[in-house]
Subunit: 333 residues, 2 copies
Amino acid sequence: MGGDYGPSVTIPASLDCLKDNPELKVILVGDQARLQPLLANALTQFQGRLSIQHASECVGMHESPAKALKNKKDSSMRVAINLVRDGVADACVSAGNTGALMATAKFVLKMIPGLDRPAIVSTMPSIYGHTYILDLGANVDCSAGHLFQFAIMGNELVKAVENIERPKVALLNIGEENVKGNEQVKAAAKLLENSSLNYIGFVEGDSLNAGPTKVDLIVADGFVGNIALKSIEGAAKMIGQFLKASFGQNILTKLAALIAYPVLKSFKHSIDPRLYNGASFLGLRGLVIKSHGGADTLAFKMAIKLAEIEAGKDVIRKIGEQVEQALVTGTRL
Amino acid sequence: MGGDYGPSVTIPASLDCLKDNPELKVILVGDQARLQPLLANALTQFQGRLSIQHASECVGMHESPAKALKNKKDSSMRVAINLVRDGVADACVSAGNTGALMATAKFVLKMIPGLDRPAIVSTMPSIYGHTYILDLGANVDCSAGHLFQFAIMGNELVKAVENIERPKVALLNIGEENVKGNEQVKAAAKLLENSSLNYIGFVEGDSLNAGPTKVDLIVADGFVGNIALKSIEGAAKMIGQFLKASFGQNILTKLAALIAYPVLKSFKHSIDPRLYNGASFLGLRGLVIKSHGGADTLAFKMAIKLAEIEAGKDVIRKIGEQVEQALVTGTRL
């Protein structure tokens, strides 16, 4: 029900994914009376793989997370997360209110023992392929220990999803030298140096997209990670607008645009943010994927596909095992 | 002497600026034996406006700021800053070691009384024109009071340089709602709300280039500001590379590139980072402009021109007056 476009995006995206993957099962959670008419004959077409789970309420995009958690016990996101808790669903995908989704997920699913806070992780395109970054906004004022936990969780995710044995893990900082950075980052570096992770050191902001070396996973506190992500989004938007304006100047430049159209289209595809839609909440005892609220059908499809991959790779169990092992061997988390 | 290219960039840039502005005087500070031969007949051509001030040492790009300050009392940057302190020069422009330049400037020029720390401010292109941001890396772990000082200093700079009476000042945050952010940002918001500045609230990372509304000055701690700047640089670099790759695919796309060449050139100009080269150190009792170390002649020219503008607008005196006034009226700095 969530996101800027609700079922008009989530339903076609779900049906597309059902077509793409014959193993997939989708439970649409929300107002049955609203969903049913939009499905036409899809329930018959995908019999046994598509169903509706009624939920009488819906959390607004700007509603307070605490209030949503307290007052809307039959909201679509709450019911969807309950399905994950009860083992009925392998993952919950939502384009709804991020804060409410996080609060509800944390309350219903609980944290993996040994971890303090969930983190939001996502990928970004880079000249080397793509880069994972966490945390993207769930946590501000993180301690070194929290940054270390993020690294452990993110490392397991990258290993599982990307089939990389030892992902290159880095800390986001304002310089590559040891003396640079704030206290948390410097202390987190010490923890990572003494860990079993393939920690490669500090990287600067440009390493998200085009740094001097390939990095698989970048760890930052939620404040810094969020600012970096949004700054990159703004830069891409501005550059796109300037490119459009340059080609729109006059009849000659418009002609050039016409000729360059296939090139510009392939270029646009290479940085299409919709292809990177879908952020995972890590640290919980269940899989929850957050789609951008403004996602269109293609973007929401990517979030569902991310859930398919992470569920298929058993990411949550692997993170849990890794954390347990660290606790057994006495590694500080 | 500083930067990646030394006098091979700083000298031609200086000569270009002398040509452009008949009021300008340039003192080249560095190794006389190295500089003199590179000047050919320029000393005659610009007689009375161009001179060399010998300095026997030079701070390396990776030298420790503390060591440079202690051991290299006749370094080119130290001598140049001494000239500012002594009123011989109105500003010092350097492409050298940032940390050493900052440490030396702080030691030699001293802070404006009432201010704790210098801040680095620069501009970025945006869909609305351009945006000033500070701090860009001089200060990590800032208190709310420091953020407030940055706002006061930046506000005076923008007023003077841009001729804007009441610049729109915002705090960089991870959301626009009051509840968002870390403790320092929330406390700084309170200070700014009660100040005489035109404080417009929190903005997110995309407001540096393409946010929902025009902002003149964005305030952040040095860690966050630096990460945002570098992230944007990385995004621009990646997008540029993808665009180039799209046009370089095959003979047809290369033909399209040829036809679109004037458009691509005008586009490239609109986001040319060289045009935004030059960051000002604010809070000191003298004007110091830091150029990017990798600046070419055009970029270094922009840094010199920035010094011309800020010296012409008497920015340092205006910041000093504003701070003094705030102290007299008892505003907390």
